[in-house]
């Protein structure tokens, strides 16, 4: 075999080098000497990924179309029905102008919650083999994105920015097992912590700090927010509780919640560049009727 002493020596050297780099990066934390190297990697590969993404996006959508094909037929039917219903709804809405204006005002007040959002597109993703869940977006410091900003999409909380280079930024998703976000149960002041459990973001774990507080299936969670709105701004819908775990004898109660945002198929997201001046509390939550399936 070609397995010589020299080969083993070189392998040993490389493995030692890797371990040394790993240890330096681990011990130094945020002030790591590898930080600048990461920055260079981010700007070089970020640009390459932006170009690559525009090429591979159609291929990606083709494959997802193949995977989703069985359910697509059913979805077309459902959408057609919904379309008909919406069209009739639109006709009635056009008649009632004053009501429409009122609705608009209410939506303006409650719907947005007062966040200033910068839209961005997902250009790359890391998720194999389930140890970390992070995405790369095509907005960076040039657009005003800074680390520890909240990222959301039309449905709810997505994650937070951990690093930003000139034109791209790295976002750690809610489903990353190492991330945790403060959360509040709707309508009350019961607080807890939401953390990821991997599994592509289908469920996240919610730990309620007060073990005597009521916790039931169907309750909805909003972000609790942190000091100065970093890393999470208050009032963003997180998800709805799917199952409650029985944890007798423990100080906290835990439950699994389904996130509003589909974390496995993200495309357009928004970075909250300015937090609301006033706590929106539960105002941004979607209508409860939809969640009672």
């Amino acid at each position: 075999m070609r397995d010589t002493r020299r080969a083993r020596l070189i392998l040993g050297l490389l493995l030692t080098a890797a371990l040394v780099i790993l240890t330096v990066d681990h011990r130094a934390g945020d002030g790591s000497p590898l930080g600048p190297l990461r920055g260079i990697g981010a700007s070089v590969f970020g640009t390459a990924q932006q170009v690559g993404s525009s090429v591979t996006r159609p291929i990606g959508s083709f494959f997802s179309a193949l995977v989703d094909a069985p359910s697509a037929q059913e979805r077309i039917k459902r959408l057609e029905a919904e379309n008909a219903r919406l069209r009739s709804g639109l006709a009635t809405a056009a008649l009632d102008k004053s009501r429409s204006a009122e609705l608009q005002r209410m939506l303006g007040l409650a719907g947005t919650g007062g966040y200033t959002v910068l839209p961005a597109t997902v250009i790359a993703r890391r998720g194999h083999p389930g140890f970390e869940d992070a995405i790369e977006i095509d907005a960076g410091t040039a657009d005003g994105v800074r680390p520890d900003m909240t990222v959301l999409n039309g449905d709810g909380l997505v994650g937070r920015v951990v690093a930003a280079s000139g034109s791209t930024a790295t976002v750690v998703l809610l489903s990353d097992p190492a991330s945790s976000a403060g959360a509040r149960v709707e309508g009350g002041n019961e607080l807890g912590v939401v953390s990821g459990v991997g599994n592509s973001g289908r469920l996240v774990r919610f730990r309620l700090l007060d073990s005597t507080a009521p916790l039931a299936r169907g309750l909805r969670l909003v972000s609790f927010g942190s000091e100065k709105g970093t890393p999470y701004v208050p009032g963003v819908p997180i998800g709805v509780i799917e199952q409650v775990e029985a944890t007798p004898g423990e100080l906290t109660r835990s439950a699994y919640a389904r996130p509003y945002a589909n974390l496995s198929a993200l495309d357009v997201v928004g970075v909250v560049v300015r937090a609301p001046t006033r706590q929106p509390r539960d105002a941004v939550l979607p209508p409860a009727a939809k969640e009672s399936r």
């Binding site: 075999m1 080969a7 493995l15 890797a18 990697g41 995977v67 993703r125 194999h128 951990v162 790295t170």
Partner: protein
């Protein structure tokens, strides 16, 4: 040169395309690992280890990254060496490398106290990744080692 280009291309495709597919059971194949195995199998253990180390370092530096630099450099260097050296037949080598890589990554992560490496990830996510990678393995490894042989012959 060709090897470097193939590795960078594999990394870009992995990050921008493969990781964003949502396949059933929620896993994706590891294209970079297969490229390292394919390249190393035609170029021997020394070149394999060096290429694996470089590919791993690039994978560690390429955004989005939320883990420590060096983790995949370690894993891919060892895999490159093993694939270059050969363990039994070519099929055994590829299967062993594909099975070993995520376990090694988990072990290195566990060694530095990464809270994301748990028993649940090892039993739920890692097998899915392995199966997808093994399904893709014959195509990728054969293509790369075939092009490598063609280059050496001419």
């Amino acid at each position: 040169m060709i090897a470097a280009l193939a590795l960078v291309a594999a990394l870009l495709v992995q990050m921008t395309l493969v990781n964003r597919l949502h396949l059933p059971a929620g896993g994706v194949p590891d294209l970079v690992l297969l490229t390292v195995i394919g390249l190393a199998s035609t170029r021997g253990p020394v070149a394999g280890a060096v290429m694996g180390f470089c590919a791993g370092l690039l994978a560690d530096l390429m955004p989005p990254a939320a883990h420590l630099v060096g983790q995949y450099a370690f894993v891919y260097a060892l895999i490159g060496f093993l694939a270059g050296r050969g363990v039994g037949g070519p099929v055994t080598t590829v299967v062993l490398c594909v099975v070993l890589a995520p376990v090694l990554a988990a072990a290195v992560g566990g060694l530095i106290g990464d809270s994301r490496v748990t028993m649940a990830t090892l039993t739920e996510m890692v097998p899915v990744t392995m199966v997808y990678t093994l399904i893709l393995a014959p195509v990728v490894v054969w293509t790369i080692s075939w092009s490598g042989r063609g280059r050496l012959a001419t």
